[in-house]
């Protein structure tokens, strides 16, 4: 009986407390979906006097409207200030919780992205999975352009990057990865570059940063080689030119790539290191235009060595360029750091040591299968 009374008392208490809650509510926190301007893609460019030009792409959700998206553009001193300016241009509450892709113009990337990445990270409504993309040219222009038949350029670029990153020819760079590599010791961030090619937006390559500043670019067709030496891969494909055979180019299309990367660090002297990058690559040959018959084991092993040679040559050239630009995009610093004590690493200036490191790229290729025919 006592328990029942207790229960009743509690029920009354709840009934007493509920109406005021309902009346006051949390009106200010409400973000009712159709009243929001959901920024899905935003672009940032360097404008005059070190100001930035921010362009945001907001989908128009009225099904009767012929326009599918609305562009908001402004020049301001900061990203958040631009947000305030946007709300003066539209009847919707502009929110950034649906942001998928942040496009940075090349000029801005050269000047350094650190502050802007920081602003994006600070906003709790912005996910860590927002893609960071560099635009070779003016990011606002490419976003404003319409690429037929795509109605929404932002989404088009986003899906393009997503699909390409799945094949590992470009890195899938998100805010999380960019800022992790930026803040980590011994690795520099990378990001995909996209450029406008008239009627299409195309992947231009991989942008390599020193700290937060853009330094150099790896062309799109070499992206996969960069990937092979940067990380373990589960997926990917590559077309390799093995020179000429009987007057026509011999091409091997190497698909379903599986790669495991290993790094060995040898200390040669006080600030001298030798780093061996070892890529163990497995895959299937889906196209082979050479004249040898692949069902002979010896031929296959020769082909494996040829492929490895091409990959190693590409990698060597790439690493040399990176050392020249002093960008440690492969994370060699991390490996060196791991081989040293904390004190030794702290005493060393990695930026000065890195260009002198002897980097050897080795590849071991295994052909898992060579197609079904023959």
């Amino acid at each position: 009986m006592h328990r029942q009374n207790y229960c009743m008392a509690r029920l009354f208490l709840i009934l007493l407390l509920l109406p005021p809650l309902l009346l006051t509510g949390c009106k200010s926190d409400e973000r009712i979906l159709e009243k929001l301007g959901l920024v899905q893609t935003a672009s940032y460019d360097l404008a005059e006097n070190n100001r930035i030009k921010v362009t945001s792409c907001v989908p128009v959700i009225d099904p009767n409207s012929s326009v599918r998206r609305e562009l908001l553009s402004t020049v301001s001193d900061s990203i958040k200030e631009a947000g305030i300016m946007f709300s003066r241009q539209t009847d919707l509450t502009v929110v950034s919780g649906q942001l998928r892709d942040a496009l940075f113009g090349l000029k801005l990337a050269k000047a350094g992205l650190g502050d802007y990445i920081d602003t994006l990270l600070r906003d709790p409504s912005i996910a860590l999975g927002v893609k960071v993309t560099i635009i070779n040219g003016d990011a606002g222009e490419i976003l404003a352009k319409e690429y037929k038949p795509h109605t929404d350029t932002g989404r088009y670029i986003n899906h393009l990057l997503e699909k390409e990153a799945a094949g590992n020819s470009i890195p899938n760079t998100t805010l999380y990865e960019f800022s992790r590599d930026y803040n980590d010791d011994g690795i520099d961030p990378v990001a995909p570059i996209v450029r406008d090619s008239g009627d299409k937006a195309v992947i231009d390559g991989i942008a390599l940063f020193q700290e937060d500043r853009y330094r150099m670019k790896i062309p799109a067709q070499d992206g996969i080689f960069f990937g092979l030496f940067r990380d373990d891969l589960r997926q990917g494909e590559v077309a390799l030119h093995l020179g000429e055979e009987a007057g026509r180019p011999a091409v091997v299309m190497f698909s379903s790539l599986l790669n495991s990367r290993k790094v060995k660090v040898h200390r040669l002297g006080a600030d001298r290191f030798k780093v061996e990058l070892l890529a163990n690559i497995q895959g299937s040959v889906l196209e082979y235009t050479g004249h040898h018959s692949l069902n002979k084991a010896g031929i296959r092993q020769q082909l494996e060595r040829d492929i490895a040679d091409v990959i190693m040559a590409k990698a060597k050239e790439m690493v040399l360029q990176m050392q020249q630009h002093n960008v440690d995009s492969l994370g060699i610093g991390i490996q060196v750091r791991n081989s040293l004590s904390y004190k030794e690493w702290n005493q060393m200036n990695w930026r000065e040591v890195y260009p002198q490191v002897e980097i050897a790229c080795k590849a071991k290729v295994t052909i898992k299968d060579y197609g079904k025919y023959m």
Binding site: R3, M8, G25, D29, P59, I61
Partner: protein, 473 residues
Amino acid sequence: MEPDTQNIPTLRHILNEFDQCADLSHRRFPELSADIVYFPHTVDNNLLIQEILRPFDRLQADGLDKLFLQSQFVETRESKAVVVGILEGCVAVFHGEAVYLLDAYGQEGRSVQQSETETVIAGPHDAFVESAPTNLSLIRRRIKSSHLKIIQCEIGEISKTTVYILYIKDIANLKYVRDLQNRINRIETDAINDGGTLTQFIEDMPNSVFPQFLTTERPDVAVSKLAAGRIITIVDNSPTAISAPSSFFEFFSSPDDYYQRWALGTGLRLLRFLALVITISFTAMYVSVTTFHYEMIPEALLRTLAESRNRVPFPPVYEALLMEIMIELLREAGARLPTKIGQTIGIVGGIVIGQAAVQAGLTSNVLIIAVASSAIASFVIPSYMMSASIRLIRFGIIILTGIWGNIGLVMGIALIVIHLSNLTSLGSSYLTPIAPMKTGDWKDVFIRAPFSKLNSRPSQSKTMNSIRQKNKK
């Protein structure tokens, strides 16, 4: 007026007691100087003819005394007992000074039919009916054991409803039996019409929305509960049997689980728990996402969701409550109407809710999917009582999400869990086997393991004989 004279059952006195009872039948046999008094509608006509009318026809006045020596004639010396006897379907025979009662109770009511509320696809299809003796016979036929004990009680000052408490000696815990018996004996009310009413008198916490005793219309379920060491209560004139003690998770199992292969049974069980989650949270999720958490919407769904909300003039909470109330109205109307009209309701409701509401811009079609799926999910729960309770608390959760979004949803679920863990059924925890944690029971609660693994009775029945079967290897 002395009590002595009142207690002697005379014909005049009895007839006086049943004054103005037009349905009472009083027949005289002047040549035998006998009178019989009974209610024709509670008496089996064949029995009456066989036991009284035919012998009376054959016999002379002096043979009558010999007839009354037969054991079916019980001599009664108390007026009150005679009155009660007649009410319970006895024929009172007045012969000289003596009064005899002959039990000729005839059952009135429908024959054993399928259950409307608890249907199964495979397995026995008979269900309890309103007559308790029939119900008891359905159970006795299934448990041919002298260990099946039946305690009889009576409740209701006016209705004098008979209540039977069934348990299996050596399996059921006598503490529970005594507790249940005490609770039933403590009831002081005028009339009880159904097992569903009785549970509310004997539950541990009658103010809770959740039913604390499982009710069933199926004898096979009742028997399985008995064998598991639980206690079954049967109320006369009600097809509802009460099983006690019960746990929250018991309401999510159906006899079908045991009649099909175990993998199917397991799948169905898991599906029902999924249905519980969907019922409680689907509409609420819609409200919280569209009101507060636009960040959570996947890119592919964003445009669809926003477009469907575009024309709706209300905030999502009101929209959701409107639709939920509509569905409940439809359900209730369908339940109360005869089947033929009920179909019309289904069609009208389908058009109004499915099409017109969206076209008129009153609701978004994504909400309709959410509301419909949570309504469908609520019907997946086999116990009607439990599914009704869960549908009710859903409204509370929708309001909470309308105020606080996902925090409200989590708060609502937390409140439900807190409340559930506070509940007891006959003093045992309602959340068994989660709290107290009895992992051994899980294989018969969350999944339906193969029978070779179901070797012990549920811990909740606190049986002293927990081994159900021995596996011979």
